[in-house]
Symmetry: none
Subunit: 222 residues, 4 copies
DNA sequence: CATGAATGAGTCTTCATTCAT
DNA sequence: GATGAATGAAGACTCATTCAT
């Protein structure tokens, strides 16, 4: 790709940087920013501490880079999922699938992601995280517009504020990812996105005088 | 003599302890366990460091006490909301309301709560947090049984695994709380629980050949 | 005794002081000056910390008082043993016996005593210990004069500097006390002082051409 | 020596370690374990505190290393003195000389040594000191066997239990070292070992009917 | 007058960061 | 350019001492 065109020196540098960040990702995601020492990152990545400091001005800078990179990867994937010419329903399915793929391929990322978007953003550092959060908010808005467009195109009922629906689907996929993270066997992230989406698609409430008409195949049987 | 003094002394002690924990709550919730020093907690609570250590064996102990207390308060409220003789729907409404009340009365608690139940629990301390998590899991199970009972009593459609529905509602409310936390003006936590519940109650998908029949009052208008 | 004549108030005070010092003696002798807290002394003696400070200006003062008292008790006993009209040999026997009695009656005192006269005088406090040491030196000199007088009266051979002999007997009894302290069963402090004194009384060296003539009863048989 | 062959880095490390331990020895021997701060050791040895901790895991570790090193040095010297093919008398002389040499070359060591073998071992740390003490006991036993062998070979009278004789000579030399430590001018550690040994060699008691026959040259004249 | 709660200086220890080699 | 030894600021925790009750 792009890297192939770079001089060898530069390519090596990038590879080193990647190794450092990989080590840092694993450690930070397991133990958090303050519970990991530069010493450990150096050892795990098999570089000298001084070399680490050649690539990152300080510990914070390394963390910042990590968060930005991981959050970019996530946003790239989910943004791609909801952009395109497909039907809105299909976009939601793509989103659920893509999010699952990204995170299952990168468990360490989940913790980091949640600790920065959902968790008590320990505010490790001021200001910078606003960048991540801003991007996150922008994504939510364009996610909301998927619902809005679905409503406009009379594909979706206007059951709630599209932004709220976006937030709902975001948070529900998160919840599934958490369940999976803690007990992968018992709570697998569903392969079929509709397992998640049916909570939005189908109404829970059973009108007293209305017989159940929707297909039962995806319904739940105790 | 001593008997006369003891109650007052005890009351004072409790008040002091509360002040310490209040200061700690605020600081920990803002910056996390490792980013707060005992020095700071002492200053904020206006006690000497030594006095802090009279009440809590060490920093961890203080944090532990804080988490346990806050999580107890939360569980008490939501457990009360879903227990009782009401209809299942009413219980869900109670839950949404109660959760909103608890958290709006105690903003700092939210961060702490999420950092321990949802956030990338950096595993500040081993073992103890399992207590909090275990209680959380138990709550989720009894929350799920509300959905299950609703299904058994033909009040709810079997649109999904009751546990998933419980997790869904849990995470929706969390998401709403986060929105409110970040931009209280723009995203107030809804007074009407149905604003949140409609995401579950009503189906999003509009069957192509089915006219929209459900009441429009709680529907969304752009 | 003297105390009976004091007003009740005064007698009580003395008794309290004694209790404090008894607790302190036990603790200090077991763990040393720095490893014992005033808190502990207060608890062990069942007084409030503040009360301790009514009797002793500070921790050092308490320690000082303890050392002075114990060392006085010791010096009284051994001084009495070597004063009087008896033969020099008898005085040495009295010394060995008296020292054994004092210490066996007061194990805690041994450690304190050694830590201040022999051990690495941790120099807990400057200056004051010179008082103890000075008294110790004075005792050694008067102990030496026992040997000197024995030589003058042709009871003792002039095998060494009397002061050295005094030091030798002092240190040898100490060594026996240490052995006893560590393994009371295996190394009892001898009841018969001659077990110790024979090392001074009898010559170790066997002149090649001289048959052993001295009485064998007190000699050693493997 | 061996060190010359080490890489420069290693040699420097050893030299640094030596300097740290030298500073620590001086301070610990003067004021004891608890009365010396790492800060002080750092200042005295002219290293930063952090550097100290690169060499020793913690304060206790530094102390432990110190004790072990010093006690090894001592035991090596005295063990060498009493091993070998010489006559028993000669071994005792060697012991007295060797002990004097070791300690006079290393004044600080004396205090440390006594505080760990004789002094009220405040039990600074548990377990490890047993190693030092055990070695000390072993030495005493092999020292005792010198006396025993002398008795078997009819060189020594059986005036006392060989173990007691060993303890006696140990404690005599200690006592002499203490005298020297406190007033080097007035109480030099004798160059002639017989000054000390005569206390064992010659009998103090003068049989009434026995003229003094042993050589007077080493006897004491006031 | 006794009490013991409150204080905060002082201690050990960690770890981000620098810089000589 | 890479290295990792050296640094020392900062943090958790203890405990002698004071003083309000």
């Amino acid at each position: 790709m792009e890297e192939q065109k770079l001089p060898r020196r530069e390519r090596e540098k990038l590879a080193q940087r990647r190794e450092m960040m990989a080590a840092a990702l694993e450690l930070f995601s397991e133990r958090g920013f303050r519970n990991v020492s530069m010493q450990e990152i150096a050892e795990k990545s098999e570089f000298a501490i001084g070399t680490l400091y050649k690539f990152f001005r300080n510990k914070e800078d390394l963390y910042r880079a990590l968060i930005l990179e991981q959050s970019s990867r996530f946003h790239e994937a989910v943004t791609k999922a909801i952009e395109g010419p497909e039907e809105e329903i299909e976009k939601l399915r793509n989103f659920v699938k893509a999010k699952g793929e990204v995170f299952r391929a990168n468990v360490a990322m989940i913790r980091l992601y949640f600790s920065e978007t959902q968790g008590a953003r320990v505010n490790v550092m001021a200001g910078f995280d606003s960048e991540v959060r801003e991007r996150y908010r922008r994504f939510l808005r364009s996610f909301a517009s998927v619902f809005e467009s679905g409503m406009k195109r009379e594909r979706f009922r206007r059951i709630a504020d599209p932004y709220h629906l976006a937030v709902a689907l975001e948070s529900f996929t998160n919840a599934f990812l958490f369940l999976w993270l803690e007990e992968p066997e018992r709570h697998p992230y569903p392969d079929d996105p509709d397992t998640i989406l049916n909570i939005l698609f189908k109404g829970l409430l059973l009108p007293i005088d209305t017989p159940e008409v929707q297909d039962e195949t995806s319904g739940y049987r105790s």
